[in-house]
Amino acid sequence: MKLSDKVAAEINSIKSRYQDPRSCLLPSLYVVQKADGWIAPEAMAAVGELLNVPGATVKGVATFYSMFRHKPMGRHLIQLCTNVACLVMGAEELVDILKGKYGLEPNGTSPDGRFSLVIMECIGACGTAPAMLVDTDFHENLNEKNIIDTLENYK
């Protein structure tokens, strides 16, 4: 697999900032994930090649950190909390709603490729539960209605 010119250019600019190419691994993997939504094994190999870091080393790093995704994801990632506070405030129902409305299963992707859903353990918003992260945006005080309204802003 070849990285797109844009991704390659971004990684090359990261490369110029560090002495040891291994230091570039995390930022480079972020660049790839931003572009592709996930990190394909071929992309790990390509990053390794570009940075001159063995492929196995890239894989070790990419699979260690939980923020990297290893299967194709929807365009937007919903991270919904179902831990105690959120649970008490109705998070389980929200899971059902997402399933009904978008066909989303936890750890799954909607058939139209729009959303992926990951269930989280407390994202630090217990006071304003239930809460979720969509990509990097925070949304709190969710209920059956505003969750859909919110998500409709993500196409």
Partner: protein, 874 residues
């Protein structure tokens, strides 16, 4: 001075070491799992915890260093409890399938649980599941047994330098994987298997064939594949080798091996081994008895000698045979047959290079300890990839690089990519221009002294070459060349590792002269790569047309006389023929008989067709081998030899270290090479009277001035180094017979649009022997043609496409592999596979100075094939 007390015993130390090491010195054993002596301390498993007075918590003794006044207890109740807890944790996810696991019996975890572990775990939830992986032909991975000690990963990245595996995922889902997740596609050194404390990664070759306690005997011997000469331990059960392992305390390899040494031994039990002597009758080889074969050979030799003289008979020795075999072989040729026509494949590169450097610097100049490489302050590599030719030597270079010792490589050396700070890849056959420029620049920075030695006088006369001239000849930017000079000029005693590619050239002598000059200017030590285990030994034994045993020239009357007198015989004085001259002689009819011991000349000499033509004209071709080869097909008599594991003797490696090869198993059919020759000699009326190889060594120790009194026991001590126990020839400072290179001719640019063919030295194979190894074939089963990316683009070839490669000598069809580091106008083809070797289509020119074939300038025409080619006909 540091005083520490461990379990009440006091020790004094000069330098701080880890508690683990200090304890070891006092004879106290602390259990470990993640620690390994070839690896850096890691501190991951917490099994080595100890109690240190005044420290509240238990400490890991592998990472904690001793300090003055420290008081350590290694087996207190607290420590034992902690170990028990650690083991209980490890077993939570451990398969505990010991009755089925091959490691049981030599498993560190099993032993430790027996000693410290809990009788039962308290964890009742399920264990993680991870099916055993059989995706790889050699390495089985069972990650349910892995304890995440990372020893394998550290071995692969820090020592082997391959970084082919890593720990993937996190927490209890962590396990070891190669990048593909399935097949390893790595260097297959097996060093990871060796350090795994449990049965998580194991060799498939002997899976479920024995348990460690079934081993009947172990034999310490030497690897049969290359000139490094790694020490190996053969584990034997029922007259067969079940496993080859290195031992960390033994030999120069200190616990490391390469794929060939570790897995390639299975050729000895290949069912295709020759089992019976054969004589050609009515055009085909037919089985016969030993005595009939001996009679036949003796009769023929006698006839030819009487009719055409001894000089019409020639002999080919082998770098795979022992010193004893080679010694007896040259004795037979010289004293019984009466001919100095003795040479071997070593005569193509190793021997002439060695001879050249010895002429300049004195005998034994290339005998430098391999372990010195990682301790030098710079390394210069040229003429081949040491990590493929001599892998364990290559590891020394990688180790040096990891210690930030500068490494420079000239030419294509893929195994050192990422390890060499300066990588110069000149266009084909333009190294001389580059070397001359390096020398010129070096001499500007470190001028020759006013008071010159004879060699410095010669260096002074070498015509200078500027950076720009070099750039236009070899295509490397002058800035890159001068950056390399910057690096070289900081070295005070570098290692120069030189391979055959630079020697087997028309300008081979110029290359060597420039390298010698560079060695002088850099105060460097020279290492010559050697593809066979005993090239150095066969030279020392006198298997050269112009050298007697002990490195004494045939041409000097007194040496010749002395050697002859020992046996009451006469050594012929006529100059002998080199191997290439023998082949030419056979072709032209001057050579009537050829006696070949353990060499496949019809395959391992360029232009196979010419060689076969020559062989088919012989009146007598005798071949001793362990397999049917391209050469045995032309033979009049074929004699089955004993394999490497079936005989005793000695090998001398490329650093000039004699090592004891021990008999591990009984021979299936063949006889030792020396024994066959001695029998033929007996029929010819000269009874050599050897009972065993010891008798031969005793004779060598008497007649060779280099091997005075050498015994196997000397070798077993590990220190039987050049000049063994004897004396090298006194160095004659009057250097004669070296031509000044014609720089103008060497600065000629290669023609742009032409493609040249060269030989690819494959890590996984060893001439034509390794094709009989099931293991090595399963790693690398098909020859590929390697080309660079520009050439591939020009031919619109992708990796895996088939191409045809044609030259004046013929054509072969192979799958292409693209390597972006290769120069544009070259195609590399390995010479290992029957019918598809590089030498099938490569011609040669005679290098007059070396009397050996030069392989440069062999043009090839490449074409993409639309269809995958069918069988290639002979």
């Amino acid at each position: 001075m540091i005083t520490v007390t461990i379990n009440g015993k006091q020790i004094k130390l000069e330098k701080p070491v880890s508690i683990l090491e200090a304890a070891k010195m006092t004879g106290i054993k602390i259990p470990t799992l993640c620690h390994h002596k070839s690896l850096e301390a890691y501190g991951g498993c917490r099994l080595c915890l100890v109690e240190i007075e005044k420290m509240p918590r238990l400490q890991a003794s592998c990472t904690q260093y001793v300090t003055d006044g420290m008081v350590v207890w290694t087996e207190t109740g607290r420590v034992v409890e902690a170990r028990k807890a650690m083991l209980e944790f490890l077993l939570i996810n451990h398969a505990l399938d010991c009755p089925y696991c091959d490691k049981a019996g030599e498993c560190d975890l099993q032993d430790l649980v027996m000693k410290y572990g809990p009788a039962a775990g308290r964890f009742t939830e399920g264990k993680r599941k991870h099916p055993e992986s059989y995706d790889d032909p050699i390495i089985v991975r069972n990650m349910e047994r892995c304890i995440s000690c990372t020893r394998c990963v550290r071995m692969c990245s820090k020592v082997q330098g391959a970084s082919a595996i890593s720990m993937v995922n996190r927490t209890s889902k962590t396990f070891v994987e190669p990048f593909s997740g399935g097949r390893y596609n790595c260097e297959y050194c097996g060093n990871c298997i060796n350090v795994c404390p449990v049965g998580a990664i194991m060799s498939r070759l002997h899976k479920h064939t024995y348990r460690p306690w079934f081993i009947e005997k172990t034999v310490d011997t030497v690897c049969s594949f290359c000139g490094v000469g790694c020490s190996v331990t053969a584990q034997i059960r029922g007259n067969s080798i079940v496993r080859i392992i290195p031992e960390s305390e033994k030999g120069l390899n200190r616990g490391l091996l390469c794929n060939r040494g570790r897995f390639g031994y299975d050729y000895i039990s290949n069912s295709g081994r020759l089992k019976s002597p054969m004589i050609r009758k009515n055009g085909s080889l037919q089985e016969t008895t030993w005595s009939e074969a001996f009679m036949y050979i003796a009769q023929k030799i006698k006839e030819i000698k009487e009719k055409n003289g001894g000089a019409a008979i020639a002999g080919v020795a082998s770098g795979r045979c022992t010193n004893e075999d080679n010694y007896v072989f040259q004795k037979f040729m010289r004293l019984v047959v009466g001919s100095n026509n003795i040479d071997s494949i070593a005569g193509f590169a190793y021997a002439p290079a060695r001879k050249f450097f010895e002429k300049i610097f004195g005998q034994g100049v290339t005998a430098n300890p391999i372990q010195g490489i990682s301790r030098s302050d710079g390394i210069f590599v040229i003429g081949g990839d040491p990590t493929a030719i001599n892998p364990v030597l290559g590891l020394q270079i990688r180790a040096a690089s990891q210690k930030d010792i500068p490494v420079a490589t000239v030419g294509y050396a893929p195994g050192l990519k990422g390890f060499a700070a300066n990588r110069l890849i000149p266009k084909p056959s333009t190294e001389a221009a580059l070397l001359a420029a390096l020398l010129t620049e070096m001499l500007k920075r470190k001028p020759l002294p006013a008071e010159k030695t004879p060699f410095e006088e010669i260096i002074g006369k070498i015509q200078p070459v500027s950076l720009n001239e070099a750039e236009s000849a070899c295509g490397i930017a002058s800035g890159e060349i001068s950056a390399c000079v910057d690096s070289l000029s900081g070295m005070t005693n570098p290692a120069l590792v030189i391979g055959r590619d630079i020697i087997q050239r028309s300008e081979g002598q110029a290359n060597l002269l420039l390298l010698a000059a560079l060695a002088q200017a850099l105060n460097g030590r020279i290492y010559l790569s050697s593809e066979l285990p005993n090239e150095q030994g066969l030279i020392d034994m006198g298997c050269l047309p112009d050298m007697l045993p002990g490195g004494r020239p045939v041409a000097v009357d007194s040496f010749r006389k002395r050697y002859g007198e020992f046996f009451n015989a006469e050594v012929p004085s006529a100059q002998g023929l080199s191997l290439m001259e023998m082949v030419e002689g056979a072709h032209s009819g001057n050579i009537k008989a050829l006696y070949v011991m353990g060499e496949n000349i019809a395959f391992n000499i360029p232009d196979n067709k010419f060689v076969k033509d020559a062989l088919s004209r012989l009146e007598l071709l005798v071949v001793q081998d362990i397999f049917t080869t391209e050469t045995t097909r032309f033979a009049h008599v074929v004699l089955p030899a004993a394999s490497w594991a079936e005989r005793e003797g000695s090998y001398t490696n490329l650093e000039g270290r004699m090592q004891h090869l021990k008999k591990a198993i009984d021979s299936v059919a063949g006889l030792e090479d020396w024994k066959i020759i001695a029998e033929v000699s007996k029929v010819l009326g000269v009874d050599m009277n050897y009972r065993d190889s010891r008798d031969i060594l005793a004779e060598i120790a008497k007649v060779s001035p280099l091997h005075k009194g050498v015994t196997y026991e000397d070798m077993d001590s590990g220190e039987c180094m050049w000049p063994y126990k004897g004396e090298p020839l006194r160095h004659d400072l009057n250097i004669v017979g070296i031509d000044m290179p014609d720089m103008k001719a060497l600065l000629k640019k290669p023609e742009k649009d032409k493609v040249y063919i060269g030989v690819d030295k494959v890590l996984f194979h060893s001439a034509s022997l390794s094709r009989n190894s099931f293991a090595l074939n399963s790693i690398y089963s098909e020859p590929h043609a390697k080309i660079g990316k520009n050439l591939a683009a020009k031919l619109s070839v992708a990796s895996g496409d088939h191409i045809s490669i044609s030259t004046g000598a013929g054509a072969i069809e192979l799958a292409a592999v693209i390597d972006s580091d290769m120069p544009d106008n070259i195609v590399l083809v390995p010479n290992n596979f029957e019918g598809r070797g590089a030498f099938r289509v490569m011609g040669w020119k005679m290098n007059a100075a070396f009397k050996a074939p030069a392989l440069d300038g062999m043009e090839a025409v490449l074409k993409k094939l639309e269809r995958v080619s069918a069988e290639v006909s002979e």
